[in-house]
Amino acid sequence: MFQTLFLKESKQIVRSIVYYIYVVVFVMFLSSQLGSELTERMEKPEPGQESYGTINSKDESAIMEKYLGELVLETNHNSYATYPMGFIKRVTLNNTELDKIKSIVEVCTGKSWEKIIEDIENHFQKYNQSTMEGAIQAQVEFSIFPKESLSYKEFCNNMEQVCKIIGAGSSYNKEKLNLGVGVPMTYEQAVEEFEAVCKKDRITGTTARLFCDYAGIILSILPIFLGVTRCLRDKRAQVSQVVYAHRASAFQILGSRYLANVCMAFLPVVITAFVMQLPYQYHAKTIGVSPDILAFLKYTCIWLLPEIMIVLAVSFFITELTENVLAIFIQVFWAIISLFGSMSLKGNFGFGLIARWNALGDTNEFWKQKQEFFINRGFYFALSLVVFLLAIVIYEKKRKEGETIYGKIFKHRK
């Protein structure tokens, strides 16, 4: 029975226009983000290179330089990024507040604000601002040296004052400072990183991680539409009562639907990951590394499958409960909060829906955070099963007692 229902559901999904849009948007999004030039960034570092990329550092002086640079730039534009509800909110200050921040910057640097503006102009003149790369590089490499006598404790106290002026969720809070900052890598560090990419990731592991990073963003939204469409189909076709009267149990009916949706949503993900991995498999062989040919499967199963499962489970649950499209609004909102609310583009997984690792490499750092990553994905895997079971309970209740309108079950029993 379950198998027959599962096959029927899968066939229905394949015939649905929503599914084709899902596949096309997914493939287009991924191909626009992942280009073949990635192989150029996986060459063995040579001594004397201009740059070796960046590495995360928790060195106190590096943190002070970077955050002072960020504060100066934000003050110059009078636009501060804050995260009061996990979602980015730009705050603009009035002149009195702005003057207070400027005086804090002057205390930290020992320079006048006019001199600092001069430093900003000198720094940005060195870069070609007309190109995206130049503008980003200028921004990334900008930092301001604190005055020599400034201790890290004093710096933190000053940043606390800044937080009070800017308001809730400021980027200069202690938790954010403790995450560390990106600093340029030395040759030795670059070699160590490259060896980790070759030995631990066997090249394809690192590209699979980047694939999952981008795919995770779009998969936090797209499966919602599959789930909501499926749950509303019976209502649209006015066959809910016929299905309720079916001899199959609620677990079999809803279980086969859910499983079919999970499998069909995951299928294009695995295929795209496999196809996109092929050039890197070849690249690994050309540089004498034996590639991990199953990396695409391992990473997609652990990274993306729990995400698809939870997104679908929540959309099943909300749609079964409300019998309308409310799940779309709630879940798109959740996805956007998770995307913009993440404090870092690399790691610090916490319990965010979208796990980010927007880096090619940084293998050693990923290995350090692996346990936190597994906890995050395991949590969503377990949660998806719980939420799905709740959806079955709702479905069974509706089946026995009647229909729901805005979440309230109306009894039709006499």
């Binding site: 226009i17 929503v18 849009i21 009061p84 509800m85 909110k89 603009t92 539409f225 649209r236 609004f329």
Partner: protein
């Protein structure tokens, strides 16, 4: 006139109220996600384009909600009043509500000591949000699937974050860059989508 008002209020009571509540809630929680104080023209445009834009999707996409039930649709077809008149009443309601929402947001920013041209931002926001909403309206109209309407308009919004340079005058987020050339082409496109949505809907789903 009374008949038209009756139709409008019946639609709001029976189908539109959850969407209106959602829009209201969305406006109420805006303070957590957007700042309304001391903004310049570009920052004020950002609030309208990145946040308020969603109200277009909320207000215009569900306008064909009653006809999701084919029996209701058939019943409406059997009545003396043309269906396009019915749809037009709903569109006018949505347009008035959108104008109110936009005016409130812009007024709040003005009162927060923000510096921008009220008329320019109002017109730009209205045409852009109306255009985004008309995409959802058009898709849900021709497919008679509200979910598809939401899906395409949300995807259009998200894709503009990365590929707006390929969309010319139909790209969102242009006010943030100081450009207002899109107002006329986008308004015309929105009207075409609205009229096309109604006309094609009845032909395709006959």
């Amino acid at each position: 006139m009374g008949r038209y008002l009756n139709i409008g209020s019946s639609f709001i009571r029976r189908h539109y109220i959850p969407h209106l509540l959602l829009t209201f809630l969305f406006c109420c929680i805006s303070g957590f996600f957007a700042s309304f104080r001391n903004l310049d023209a570009s920052q004020a445009a950002k609030v309208m384009e990145m946040y308020v834009a969603f109200t277009g999707i909320f207000l215009f996409t569900p306008l064909f909600m009653p006809e999701q039930n084919k029996e209701i649709w058939l019943l409406e077809k059997s009545k003396g009043m043309d269906l396009w008149k019915l749809y037009l009443i709903r569109i006018l309601q949505a347009i008035v509500l959108l104008a109110i929402v936009i005016t409130i947001f812009i007024q709040v920013m003005k009162q927060g000591n923000s510096q921008f041209s009220f008329e320019k931002l109002w017109l730009g926001s209205f045409s852009e949000i109306f255009f985004l909403g008309s995409i959802g309206f058009f898709v849900s109209g021709i497919t008679n699937q509200v979910v598809l309407g939401y899906m395409i308009s949300v995807i259009y919004f998200i894709s503009n974050i990365g590929v707006s340079k390929y969309l010319g005058h139909f790209a969102l987020f242009q006010m943030m860059k100081g450009s207002y050339d899109f107002v006329v082409p986008m308004s015309i496109a929105a009207l075409i989508l609205i009229v096309g949505g109604i006309a094609l809907r009845e032909k395709i789903n006959q």
